[in-house]
């Protein structure tokens, strides 16, 4: 045994320590690793965990080393959590600055000096984008991206007007569950709900599969749930990574019952939120959403009721007015009508009275006129006859006198004619009457020479004898 050269364990460990110190000294390194086995002791503000690196092909770690964060590192973690909204916890990829520390009892560990929030953020964001891209492109019948929005089959399901049968996925002991059930059961309106809890962890590596299994259980329960509510957390920061997981997101997107999320996320929206029918920030908000949804329904009912009542009242009032109007019309019109007839009668009465009187008056006038005619006209007639008679008398007188005068004239004419022809008058003018043997001769033919003739003149009668007889040719008178 003595031939063996050996050193004490402590000597060896000292050598290792010396080598490490000589090689690394206080050198610090930025490394990329995943966190695992994380524990946090709040009383001394220390984080204990492991840095691991997994194989590209499998999920198995290929490297693993203890890590620790003392007070100064823990302050960086706090800043990191504030900046990223992501808990420093298992499963996250980090870019951290470490120095190697060796302890003779506890061995080697990496002490975290600093943590880069932007790396984790970028990394998470990258994963998120990949997942979203996969979801948006791989299942066009379940998920469609329009602009920045994702339309999922779940979103297309219409929530029943009232949500009353609820399936909750979450932890019954969690603050979120308590908040939710408290809010729901103590609602102001007295709405009652029937709630089934499907218990599941909502963080950690197995959470995704557990959540999916619960969805399957709900689906297979055969109960007609109005919605599924996924809740988690409460006041404390939680791990949201599971809610960005691809399989869970897809399951939610195609789930046949509307999913309402209330997963306590203040700064960001998880992919599950995007896929779910309705996402709210907290379990309380989810409960409030459900109550307000029911309230909205009831209010719609009440609005309709009010409309029915108001419209009915209006209708009745309109009808009342119409009836009243009809009543007024009939009453007024009947009176008007009667009065019209009264007036008409009075008018007719007056026409008859007045016209009768005027007829009688006119007749009387006519009669008086005729009477007057009778009084005057016969006298005129007799007078004119008298005139005629007088005229005739006058005519007789005038005509008779004229007649006699004319006759006298005619007779006088003859008187003068005869006077002129009297022999006395002829003798006075120098003519003589020749007689032979006492006979007046007017033809001298038979008178011969020696005849005895008696010539009677105005004053004397002469006896003579004819001496000669010659022809008288008118030239010797």
């Amino acid at each position: 045994m003595s031939e063996f050269h050996y050193i004490k364990l402590s000597e060896l460990i000292q050598k290792v320590e010396d080598t490490l110190r000589n090689t690394f000294g206080n050198e610090q390194y930025w490394i990329i690793a995943e966190i695992s086995g994380h524990k946090f002791y709040a009383n001394n503000d220390r984080h204990y965990f492991e840095f691991i690196e997994k194989s590209e092909t499998s999920n198995d770690p290929i490297t693993k080393i203890r890590g620790v964060s003392w007070v100064s590192g823990s302050q960086r973690i706090k800043l990191f959590e504030q900046e990223t909204g992501q808990l420093f916890t298992n499963g996250i990829q980090v870019l951290v600055k470490v120095k190697i520390e060796f302890h003779k009892v506890y061995g080697m560990q990496l002490v975290m000096q600093d943590i880069d929030p932007s790396f984790t953020l970028g990394n998470l964001e990258l994963q998120r984008r990949e997942t979203l891209h996969k979801l948006a492109t791989g299942f066009p019948d379940i998920i469609q991206k329009v602009g920045a929005e994702y339309f999922t089959r779940n979103k297309k399901i219409s929530i029943p007007p009232v949500i009353q049968k609820i399936a909750i996925i979450g932890s019954p002991n969690s603050e979120g569950y308590i908040d939710f059930t408290h809010t729901v059961s103590s609602n102001l309106f007295g709405y009652k709900f029937s709630i089934d809890i499907y218990q599941s962890t909502v963080q950690g590596g197995d959470a995704e599969f557990e959540l999916i299994n619960k969805l399957i259980a709900i689906h297979e329960s055969g109960k007609a749930y109005d919605c599924v509510v996924i809740i988690r957390g409460g006041g404390a920061k939680s791990d949201f990574l599971v809610f960005d997981k691809f399989k869970l997101s897809l399951a939610i997107a195609k789930f046949p019952i509307p999913v309402i999320t209330g997963i306590g996320h203040h700064n960001d929206v998880s992919i599950v939120d995007m896929m779910a029918h309705t996402s709210t920030k907290t379990p309380t908000k989810a409960a409030e959403f459900i109550i307000s949804h029911n309230r909205q329904f009831e209010e719609e009912l009440l609005i309709l009721q009010k409309a029915v009542v108001i419209k009915s009242q209006q209708m009745l009032s309109v009808q009342m007015q119409r009836i009243h109007l009809a009543n007024t019309t009939i009453v007024n019109q009947a009176r008007t009508y009667i009065n019209f007839h009264k007036d008409s009668l009075t008018g007719l009465h007056q026409i008859i009275t007045n016209n009768t009187k005027s007829i009688l008056y006119a007749l009387q006038t006519n009669l008086v006129h005729l009477l007057n005619q009778m009084l005057s006209q016969p006298k005129i007639t007799t007078a004119s006859r008298q005139n005629e008679l007088n005229n005739q008398i006058n005519n007789l007188k005038v005509f008779s006198q004229k007649f006699i005068i004319n006759q006298k004239g005619f007779v006088n004419h003859y008187i003068s004619l005869i006077n002129m022809m009297k022999p006395d008058n002829i003798l006075k003018k120098g003519f003589a009457i020749i007689a032979q043997n006492g006979k007046i001769i007017s033809d001298s033919e038979n008178i011969k020479k020696g005849d005895e003739l008696t010539i009677t003149m105005e004053k004397h009668i002469i006896s003579t004898t004819v001496n000669s007889k010659i022809e008288q040719d008118g030239t010797n008178i």
Binding site: Q386, L389, N390, I393, L396, K397, S400, Q401, I404, Q407, K408, F410, V411, Y414, I415, L417, I418, M421, K422, P423, I433, K439, I440, S442
Partner: protein
């Protein structure tokens, strides 16, 4: 004297015409003239009496009518 004025006047007219036409010979002229002057006398008498009569009647008529 049943003679009428008309007949007398006609005869008178006849005589006058004869005399005027000188178809009366001087030997009957005196005779005709005599006849004519008789006829004239008759006619004048008749005329006068008729006138008298008519005047009387008219006077009567007038006296009857006027006062009416």
């Amino acid at each position: 004297m049943e003679q009428t004025y008309e007949a007398a006047y006609a005869e008178l007219k006849q005589i006058a015409a004869e005399i005027e036409n000188e178809s009366v010979s001087v030997d009957v002229l005196a005779e005709k003239v005599k006849r004519a002057s008789e006829l004239i006398a008759f006619c004048q008498k008749k005329l006068r009496s008729t006138e008298q009569e008519v005047n009387n009647i008219i006077k009567q008529m007038e006296t009857k009518t006027t006062p009416s």
